[in-house]
């Protein structure tokens, strides 16, 4: 009995002779133009054609800025191709601009020689002035020779295509996003079978609406033939994909699924206390959708209560989880301290955004590392893991559950706005690929000392409320092994050391560190978190060009992998690119007494590959001159 309800084979598109390795397409328009929908759809078309992909939505910070204005521009970027699509793309190769504001906001990101696909129908005097244009910029743009330009009056074409249908004109124009999708697909030689099916499923009960959108989609697709261009205009290479089941997944979705997988494998039901905060809210929303996994979510009154609820649930034997962003992590500091002291399993997820304070709430940054590592009073060691890409959030969350449950410790997982909201294709693992997370429960009648430790992991055992014979008291006050309050100086020092040693012992579980590129040589680039794509590609390109450069990307930021010190000594120079002022660099300097170069960016956007490559080249030149 197959679980597949409907299935359909899609063509794999044509292959051109002068094909390109990857391409970044950005759909942009007004918030109400449906850019996110067609962006997602284009991504699926690209995936079904056999490409790797990486997508990133760029929503306006305002919920509904006035139509046609600059703050109201909503965009969705898809980077797809046969390889090197681990980032959203340094530059936009094709910009679809549905109105003047979208053009103005995005034009600076378009690569030289890129394609501009502009809806001239929206270039009215009103719209131009809303976008701060005095005259239409279109003529100047085509005259500049900097871009390929395709100007189409999409509004009019859609009205023509839907002529005779019984809709008001304003509703007809709303189908323009599908026209743009059809046109873009044709230019890239992608099949539109998938959006066609999607439309008929989505509006199955409103056939007139389905017909209108499908007609617009097809009108866009065929309109390409009227343009005086060779079709497909852009031919992107297909990847050699390993066999398997694939899906598109965002970092926040993957994080929620990783927690659920951890819950299933550790036989502990999730209790997630959380408070809505950009950009972490989708994790709570996703978990709330999974009640059939016995997931219990509580939208708490504040961040403090959220972690309190998670701690309480962990104490009672469930898997306590809380998700937040930087400002929320500040408020969770005291809760984390309590979880460290009481040695309870807990997973805290921080989807980082640019700070301090409210900062740039929708933009990315990696500046919470210090807070994750050190942001508590007292000696308060907490394992810190960081996810490197949207799909990697799954594995990172799962490992965080493993560490938390097996070592009875709170664990902080760092993600960021770009990987949380971004998505990529993911080869879906089967549940059998994931290990069981087992711990030894107290057996009835066993004598119980709350702070007696496992000799290997250093973890204490949990006597769960509701089980007779293990009644005990824990809390924020320092205890001795038997769980009695202790002010004894020697005991406190002993317990501080034990807690630190327990976290340090996690290095035993960390797999050997992978070094990409050269294993020894001139320059090692050490990165963490969402900068993986940009760093790995920059290193890959330079290594291919003959430089002895290597790349290490850390998942465990505390404790650091035990082989890292050795790896660092194999290189003359070490560079740490970070979206902060050099936090990991400072940690590495302190840990290994090495001069580590920092490369900082704090512009609310991920690294570009080119800027990392440039910095690496500069360093390599300097050192060869110096050497």
């Amino acid at each position: 009995m197959s679980t597949v309800d409907t299935q359909k084979r899609y063509g794999t598109g044509s292959r051109g002779s002068d094909s390109i390795q990857s391409s970044a397409v950005r759909f942009s328009g007004d918030s109400g133009d449906g850019m996110q929908v067609v962006g997602e759809m284009f991504a699926t078309c690209a995936a079904l054609s056999g490409a790797y992909l990486h997508t990133f939505p760029d929503y306006p910070a305002e919920i509904r800025a006035p139509a046609g204005t600059l703050p109201g521009v909503s965009a969705f970027q898809i980077h797809f191709g046969s390889q090197d699509v681990e980032t959203q793309g340094d530059w936009v190769d094709t910009l679809v601009a549905m109105n003047p504001a979208a053009l103005r906001v995005n034009i600076d990101e378009v690569a030289e020689g890129g394609l501009l696909l502009v809806n001239t129908g929206a270039f009215t005097e009103d719209n131009l002035s809303r976008a701060d244009y005095t005259d239409s910029p279109l003529d100047a743009l085509s005259a500049s020779g900097r871009y390929h330009t395709v100007f189409v009056n999409i509004n009019q074409r859609v009205l023509d295509a839907l002529k005779g249908m019984d809709f008001p004109t304003s509703d007809k124009i709303r189908c323009k996003n599908f026209f743009a999708l059809g046109l873009t697909c044709r230019l890239y030689g992608l099949s539109i079978d998938y959006p066609r099916d999607w439309i008929s499923n989505k509006w199955g009960n409103k056939p007139a609406l389905a017909l209108a959108n499908e007609t617009a989609l097809e009108a866009g697709y065929t309109h390409a033939e009227k343009l005086e261009v060779r079709l497909p205009l852009l031919c992107v290479d297909r990847a050699l994909l390993p066999d398997g089941i694939y899906r598109k997944i965002s970092g926040n979705e993957a994080m929620a699924l990783g927690l659920i997988a951890g819950s299933e494998k550790s036989w502990r039901e999730i209790v997630c206390g959380s408070y809505p905060i950009t950009p972490a809210t989708p994790i709570l929303e996703e978990l709330a959708q999974h009640k059939h996994f016995m997931v219990k979510t509580v939208q708490a009154e504040d961040e403090i209560s959220a972690i309190g609820i998670a701690i309480g649930a962990s104490y009672a034997g469930h898997l306590g989880v809380t998700s937040t962003s930087g400002p929320g992590l500040c408020l969770k500091s005291e809760g984390l301290g309590l979880a460290v002291m009481t040695e309870l399993p807990l997973v805290v997820i921080d989807v980082m955004r640019a700070g301090p304070s409210t900062g740039l709430p929708t933009k990315t940054e990696q500046a919470d590392l210090f807070m994750a590592l050190f942001g508590r009073h007292g000696e308060s060691p907490v394992p810190v893991l960081a996810a490197r890409s949207p799909s990697d959030c799954f594995r990172t969350a799962f490992e965080a559950v493993q560490v938390a449950v097996m070592c009875r410790t709170p664990v902080i997982v760092l993600s960021d706005a770009s990987i949380g909201n971004g998505s990529e294709q993911w080869r879906v693992p089967t549940p059998d690929d994931l290990p069981e997370i087992e711990i030894d429960p107290m057996k009835r009648g066993e004598s119980y000392k709350p702070y007696e430790r496992d000799p290997v992991t250093g973890a204490r055992r949990l006597g769960l409320p509701g089980r007779p014979g293990f009644e005990h008291r824990i809390g924020g006050l320092e205890k001795d092994e038997k769980g009695q309050i202790s002010q004894d100086p020697a005991n406190h020092e002993h317990m501080v050391e034990m807690r630190a040693r327990k976290v340090q012992a996690i290095t035993r579980f960390i797999p050997p560190t992978e070094v990409a590129g050269a294993r020894e040589g001139d320059l090692l680039v050490v990165g963490w978190g969402g900068s993986y794509g940009a760093i790995s590609l920059a290193v890959k390109h330079l290594h291919r060009d003959g430089y002895s450069v290597g790349h290490v990307h850390l998942r465990y930021l505390h404790p650091l992998p035990s082989d890292l010190g050795q790896i660092i000594t194999c290189f003359k120079n070490v560079l740490v690119p970070e979206l902060n002022q050099g936090q990991l660099a400072m940690v590495l300097r302190a840990a290994y007494l090495r001069d580590v170069q920092t490369f900082s960016r704090m512009q609310g956007r991920p690294f570009r590959i080119s800027e990392i490559r440039d910095r690496m080249e500069t360093l390599l030149k300097q050192s060869s001159r110096g050497g």
Partner: protein, 518 residues
């Protein structure tokens, strides 16, 4: 049966570190006295506290205890109760912990109606930090941090709890152990957040703060003991009462020539409208006697129970989560021959769990190959079994009915299971086994425990068009003995292991008879 507990079972073998003469001792004693009388197994009692003198209490109780951080006890207690609703969770807090730093958590625990018992020790001072004014200190109170007198208007704890729509609000006094015991017991019996304010004396930093109200020589005039259904009468000679004049309460003399008791306000804590309880919370020194006792006691669904029910309902509607499907999501595609063949697929919702589906395929294959009477019987639709054996038997119980009303039905109807219904939907099966095991092992109170709490939630409903083979899969995969059915009529029914065995037995007998005839 559970062993009989005594006070001694609740006393932790540690020395108590409160100042001699502290009101906390009396409260601790009372708690240790009443807990054994509640019929709750000791291991199911969890005492959660924040920070402050009062919050040391968990260490003195030989139960599960969690001394958390300042003000956060209600949040931690909420997590505990959500994870394990069977636990009896007590929150110990003080005026600083509960009303100042933790005010927000207190309000929200109450508004959610978590089934917690919150005891707020109100001594109107910060004791552990050695004498600073607290949120309940009177205006003008002179302390180390308010040498010229506090400017803060004090919080009225009961009023705050009522404003958060507390379902149970009470007040008692550390000097009245008997009264305290009654109030604590009522709080424990109440389902939902029970908020209890205790007038507690801090002997070191705010000695005799309550003396004008509860002092031996004034208490008859200054305390108003609330009793359900009784008029509001006070005074040593019980010669004063409280009457409503318009919307304002007033004190009236009672006696031969004065007002009769009939004109007085009559205490009713069960009123749905909170206006009366609010009025009581506003009576205060020096104009009025301070009411003590249960101000409000109403029923409203508790958060953790509703949450569990939502989870059970979703699990029933969607089937218990299947990790493989969840990882694939709604839209996935399969890649074969290194990307040369890509197939998009939209997932359909499963009727059964993953495990039983695998077995299902095996049995289906078997049925195709083998043609003996036994395997043929596996193809029979459950409809036939249901109509033949089961249609009269399935009896219902509502999820919110207490066990005490469910248990007699086993005997009256001579059944071994009941269908547990919630809003007309079947959400689980309550079996004799559930009752026997859970009632004896966990020693729950059949009067307060609901059928919905003890049932086995039903996640996979078969339809009457499923086959006996399907039913056997589910039974063997789940270890259950009952299969709930969603009938085509929209009603529910149940097929049991026993009935399936009967059916197979009869099929074999029939087959043998057919053989003989041939």
């Amino acid at each position: 049966m559970a062993t009989v507990l005594t006070r001694k079972d609740f006393v932790a073998p540690v020395s108590i570190r409160w100042c001699p003469g502290c009101g906390d001792f009396a409260i601790l004693n009372t708690l240790q006295n009443i807990l054994p009388t509640l019929g709750i197994p000791k291991e199911n009692i969890v005492i959660v506290s924040g920070i402050g003198c009062s919050s040391r209490l968990p260490y003195y109780m030989d139960t599960y205890g969690f001394h958390t951080i300042h003000g956060r006890a209600p949040a931690v207690a909420t997590g505990i109760k959500i994870a394990n609703p069977r636990l009896s969770v007590w929150v110990i807090t003080g005026d600083g912990d509960g009303l100042s730093i933790g005010g927000n958590h207190l309000i929200h625990a109450i508004r959610r109606n978590m089934d917690l018992n919150i005891l707020l020790f109100n001594n109107r001072i910060y004791g552990l930090t050695k004498g600073q004014y607290s949120p309940t200190s009177a205006r003008g109170k002179i302390t180390k941090t308010s040498p010229e007198g506090s400017l803060d208007n004090p919080v009225n704890p009961c009023c705050l709890a009522l404003a958060a729509e507390a379902t149970f609000v009470a007040r008692t006094i550390d000097t009245q152990p008997k009264h305290m015991a009654e109030v604590f017991t009522a709080a424990a019996r109440h389902r939902g957040t029970s908020f209890v304010e205790i007038f507690q004396n801090c002997v070191t930093f705010n000695n005799k703060a309550w003396e004008p109200i509860s002092g031996r020589d004034v208490r008859d005039e200054q305390l108003l003991f609330l009793a359900q259904g009784k008029p509001l009468v006070f005074g040593k000679a019980r010669n004063k009462g409280i009457r409503l004049n318009g919307l304002a309460p007033e004190i009236v003399p009672l006696g031969e020539s004065a007002t009769s008791e009939k004109d007085l306000l009559v205490h009713d804590a069960f009123q749905a409208n909170p206006a009366y309880a609010y009025l009581m919370s506003q009576l205060s020194y020096p104009d009025f006697p301070s009411p003590v006792g249960v101000l409000r006691n109403i029923e409203r669904p508790t958060y953790e129970r509703e949450l569990r029910r939502q989870v059970a309902r979703v699990a029933q509607e969607r089937g218990r989560g299947d990790l493989e499907r969840a990882l694939r999501g709604h839209e996935y595609w399969t890649v074969e021959r290194m990307g040369r063949e890509i197939t998009a697929a939209a997932t359909a919702r499963p009727k059964l769990g993953y495990e039983s589906r695998i077995m299902d395929e095996q049995i289906r294959d078997l049925i195709q190959i083998v043609r003996d009477p036994l395997t043929a019987a596996l193809r029979t639709k459950l409809k036939d079994i249901y109509e033949k054996y089961a249609h009269k038997r399935a009896k219902r119980v509502e999820a919110n009915e207490p066990l005490s009303s469910a248990i007699p039905r086993f005997k009256v109807f001579n059944v071994s299971y009941l269908m547990v219904m919630d809003k007309g939907k079947l959400i689980g099966i309550l079996t004799e086994r559930d009752v026997v095991i859970k009632l004896t092992l966990h020693a729950v109170d059949p009067n307060t425990t609901l059928a919905g709490d003890l049932m086995s939630p039903e996640l996979d409903l078969l339809s009457e068009n499923h086959t006996v083979g399907d039913a056997i899969n589910v039974l063997s995969a789940s270890g259950k003995r009952y299969i709930p059915l969603l009938l085509e009529s929209g009603k529910y029914g149940v097929v049991t292991t026993k009935q399936i065995l009967w059916f197979i037995h009869e099929s074999m007998v029939e087959a043998r008879q057919l053989e003989k005839i041939r």
